[in-house]
Amino acid sequence: MLDTTFSHLPNTPGVGYKPQHYSEILEAPGPVSWLEVHAENYMGDGGRPLAQLGYLAERFPISVHGVGLSIGGEGALDKDHLARLRTLCDRVKPASFSEHLAWSTHDAHFLNDLLPLPYTATTVARVADHIKEVQNHVGRRMLLENPSSYLWFDESTMSETDFLFQVATASGCGLLLDVNNVFVSATNLNMDARAYIDAFPVEKVGEIHLGGHDEDEDEHGAPLLIDSHGREVVDPVWALYDYTLAKAGPRPTLIEWDTDVPDWPTLRAEAERAAAALAAV
């Protein structure tokens, strides 16, 4: 009988699970020792997606990562969606559950993107209340992920790191630190990425994300990086990851590659690079 209880993610590499890698993950996982799935892709009633996930969940710790809850939304959380998350978590018994600091639903319209919000005392209270509701419904603590930012709200009164610290303190949630998002946001808003890591409450970090981004520039000629998850992690992000590990210690680290998904050896090579960085801490 397999041990099917994974209470936490190990401090080793994981990857975002793609069905085309199913057989190779089972046969040649390399250093990949846990998997993350987007919750919304496993909210059907049955069929292959849930069968594959059930099989994998008996062999790997699973991280359930929501992309559609709209925790930063002005309106109430979608009760049906909370119930679906609960059903999925009860079924998979994930080692970790996480969602984004973002909104995606307004007036019953779901926009399928992680949209930004201003950082104020009002939004701290709203996001913290939503997270408490999520944690009560799903029955477990969640991790909240920092976003990729492309613009700034003039009404914001605090930094993103202050905002995340206050939300985590008020709600009791942990944090998911996406190092690529830090690099993207810092470049786009002309801030110091290492200063962001220095200010981040790393003791609350339960997971790290790494992924690829695209490069563009805005109408003023300033660099504009776009979080695409469609290519390798770039060297400056690996360097920022090393810097983060030196401050935070080893943490479960996910390679995200969601568009133009590569073959398994290419994705596994990214995980091997993360494994080497983790081993060097």
């Binding site: 700034w152 003023h220 776009i226």
Partner: protein
């Protein structure tokens, strides 16, 4: 007073609208192209979701037409749920009145087929009745009713919809005849099968709780040349979960 999510939603879905006030690059400069990142993410991700949802339509009309059509659809019908696997439910009705598709009147039925196949892929797992469950006295079989698996859908069309589906996958030219199809999911992969004449009416009667005899009567399915092969297909595809 800051920018509301209502304002942001409207501006994201309207490509030519002004960028809402109160957004910048963090250093006093306008956020025009920065806001366009969100507009683009939303339009591209929803378009890709529709490409995934409607492979038959995509193949029939081509990439350029499909993306232009998707751009209109996603603004008229943004998703109402975060479950992208079910996005596009209004596509058949949308295509009925979408002017540029007027010359392709079979597209709504092709969209129904795509939706039914997607639905079948994610439908609940069920156990079909065994093939020998129908090896009972003929009068008992005729008096029986059935329950169908949740993956099953019957699509009746005025167009050669099975041939059109096949054409979109490299098949030959469809016949000039109306066709009805059965969508099912024997294991993990959905199947689409051509139904015999009156087969759709027969299965629809069964769905509506008729006995097999009543369904034969109302549908005019040929008891010999129609019923036997259709029963065989139904058992092969595992569409019955109960016979009683």
């Amino acid at each position: 007073m800051g920018v509301s999510q209502s304002d942001l939603t409207s501006a994201i879905l309207a490509p030519d609208a002004d960028v809402p006030a109160g957004l910048s690059d963090g250093h006093g400069k306008t956020a025009g192209k920065r806001f366009d990142v969100y507009r683009n993410n939303v339009a591209v991700s929803l378009t890709e979701a529709l490409v995934t949802a409607f492979p038959t339509i995509y193949s029939l009309v081509g990439d350029q037409f499909f993306r232009a059509m998707a751009g209109v659809y996603l603004r008229q019908h943004p998703p109402s749920s975060p479950l992208m696997m079910f996005y596009g439910a209004e596509m058949p009705a949308f295509l009925e009145t979408f002017e540029p598709a007027k010359g392709l009147p079979y597209l709504p039925d092709a969209a129904r087929v795509d939706l039914a196949l997607r639905h079948a892929y994610h439908a609940a797992d069920t156990t079909p009745i065994a093939a020998d469950a129908v090896q009972i006295a003929p009068e008992d079989l005729m008096a029986s009713r059935v329950e169908l698996a949740p993956a099953v859908q019957v699509i009746a069309s005025a167009y050669p919809i099975h041939g059109i589906w096949s054409l979109a996958r490299g098949g030959s030219k469809p016949p000039a005849a109306a066709q009805d199809v059965l969508i099912s999911r024997p294991a993990f992969d959905p199947e689409i099968d051509l139904l015999p004449p009156n087969g759709a009416a027969f299965l629809t009667a069964l769905v509506n709780n008729a006995t097999i005899e009543e369904a034969l009567d109302t549908s005019s399915l040929d008891p010999a040349s129609g019923f036997g092969p259709l029963l065989g297909l139904a058992l092969q595809r595992g569409i019955f979960t109960r016979l009683h």
